[in-house]
Amino acid sequence: MTDPIAAIEARGLVKDFGEVRAIDHLELRVDAGAIHGLVGPNGAGKTTLLRILFGLVRPDDGEIFVLGRELDATEAEPMREVGGFVEEPRFYPYLTARRNLELMADLDGGGRERIDQVLELVRLGDRADRKVGGFSSGMRQRLGLAASLLRRPRLLLLDEPTVGLDPIGVREMLRLVRTLAGDGVTIVISSHNMSELEGVCDAVTVIADGTSVWRGSMDHLRAESPAPAHRIETSDDRRAMQIADADPRVHAVADPDGWLTVSADQAALDAFVVRLGINDVAIRRLELLMTALESMFFSLTGVPASAPSPVAEPSSEIETVR
């Protein structure tokens, strides 16, 4: 049996910057046509990995195949069918948005005819003839996406694409990502915000300390995720703690500021809330502290670097085909 075609396949990837190991035997597989999330805390190695994929940085060890071509560690060269941006996209401030895109198209050997189309797509059509030096961070982000789409990439690498965008911008960016994926573009999105990727990604790789600590589908991640955490303010926290301790499905911790942090799945939380009412404990406030995926994220990325990586013994469902 053959697995789905891989757009990216990385094995044992290592990158050192002096004494610092930024990427530590990282494994990655991104299926062609999928939206793949790269999640991890700041400094986990996501951006370095993307820089390697772009050919900006050469790995010190390991193998990496991008769209079927092995990246040569001795020759860091760009892949023509790979688009996107890494960190905040930057352009020549003394040129207009349109002129910047024209130069990008020239470097690609074509694509000028799509400039108006991509500018409209990222809602910068009315700012096309303004100098980029006056653009906000969000506008540069959108211009970066426009520049990425000029040459119709088969693989789109987006590093924190929603940073600097307002909520509407975030929604539009994610909608655009889904549209592009629908057209067959493989998309890799890096983020430190698990909830942002939850509704858009098909699969995810969690990175911590330069290595992949979890890989698999989003559905599988949800299934493996621990209970979500809620913050509850009651009329009698001591009594509420006693009620929580009586139910093995509920784990409550008293916060020094007078809150209770309760970890429980939906059914157990419902039962706990009902029991609080029966026992005359009023609930003054109840809020979601962490989703199940966020809980998973923290539990995964909180693993000390020296501890065995969960990737070392993956379940058969999420194992990369070797």
Partner: protein, 441 residues
Amino acid sequence: MSVAVATPTRSGDDRAGGIGAVYRVEVSKITAQLLPRAAAVVCLVAPFAFTFFVNTQSSVPADSLFGRWIHSSGFSIPFVVLGFAGIAGFPLIASVVAGDIFASEDRQSTWKTVLTRSCSRGDVFLGKTFAALTYSTAMVALLAVSSTLAGVVIVGRQPLVDLSGSLLGPGKALTMIAASFGLALVPTLAFTCVGIYFSVATRNSMAGVLGPPVIGLLMVLLSLMGSGVIVRSMLLTTPFDAWHGLQIKPIQGKPIWIGLLVCVAYGLLSLDAARRSFRRRDFAGDGQARLAWGTVARGTIVGVAIVAVLLAGSLLDSTWITSQHVETSVAKTLSNLVAVQQGILGRTVVPSAVKVYPFCKRESVISGTSSGAGDDWTCRLYVDGPQVGRLAADYSVTVKPNGCFTAEGQAAVIGPLHIKTPAGGTTINPLSAFDGCMIPP
């Protein structure tokens, strides 16, 4: 199990931009930036401003080659500009774009934008290099054209006396100007390559732009320290004087070829070092590199060591400027000038018919042979020829370390500074003071 991987497809979008695309993009960027534009304006306007200014003054910059002709022939202006620009101007022109063309991508954090397009690093390096070389070439050409135009428009198209004492008509003068600026272009391009190395290696625009002119100034200072041939030949500023050889009869090709070799060596070494550094580099962060004190200190130590070695070599190297060289050169120039002067006065004299017997020595030398650069040379010249008869003239001669000299005579013997032409006009007496150049062996 096996790995199935997507295979790349070839489509119209898969064409690479290549070196040509990078070159065109860089030229577009250069023409849109303030500093290169400002430098172009300076190259265009400065010769006009200079010419206008000196023509409002009664004195002339007589210590510069052709300076004494600045009021008498417009064709002297480009040569005076050439002399000034060779000191630091050309290295600065070279570094305006070259020193910034790579470092500006660091400053603006745009490397990730450029290198994630379809061009290889090799394409980017060569495209940027050719763009910087093009800008330097354009600026040298602009300076040549603007200084010539300034001279012709403001002063006029009068004939010019060249460094061998011969008269250059407008056609020959223009050819000589073009050839001289063409020769100055070669070291300018070498300085451009040095600027590119600074830009790549330091990743700092200021270091990239200021590095080449500082090196140029250091080399000029070194060349003033002694008049030996070996160290002087190794300096990248020496080829800026190669055009002197064009004005000496017969044309002296040796300094031109040596200069060409030196420039090629500096250029290729700089570009190779820059290319290696650029290809090896990991583009792992954004922003312009700060000049670390440790790096600056190491660079300074290396620089001081090189300067010290060259200085020692320069001082130890014996001078090639001897009394024999001075006598030969001054005598040949004077015999040509006598013919020119007689021509101005309406008399025809063939230069070869004028015999000059020179005796030159340094006043500071009590005994032994006179040699070396200095302002204490005196020459007694016995002239014998048709129309002029026999006369003896004493000249005070200042010899510069590069072999060029200025000779000033006594009015009582050779006539006043200005003489009247048969047509009733007034012109400079070419014998009152003249410039010339000796070519190193």
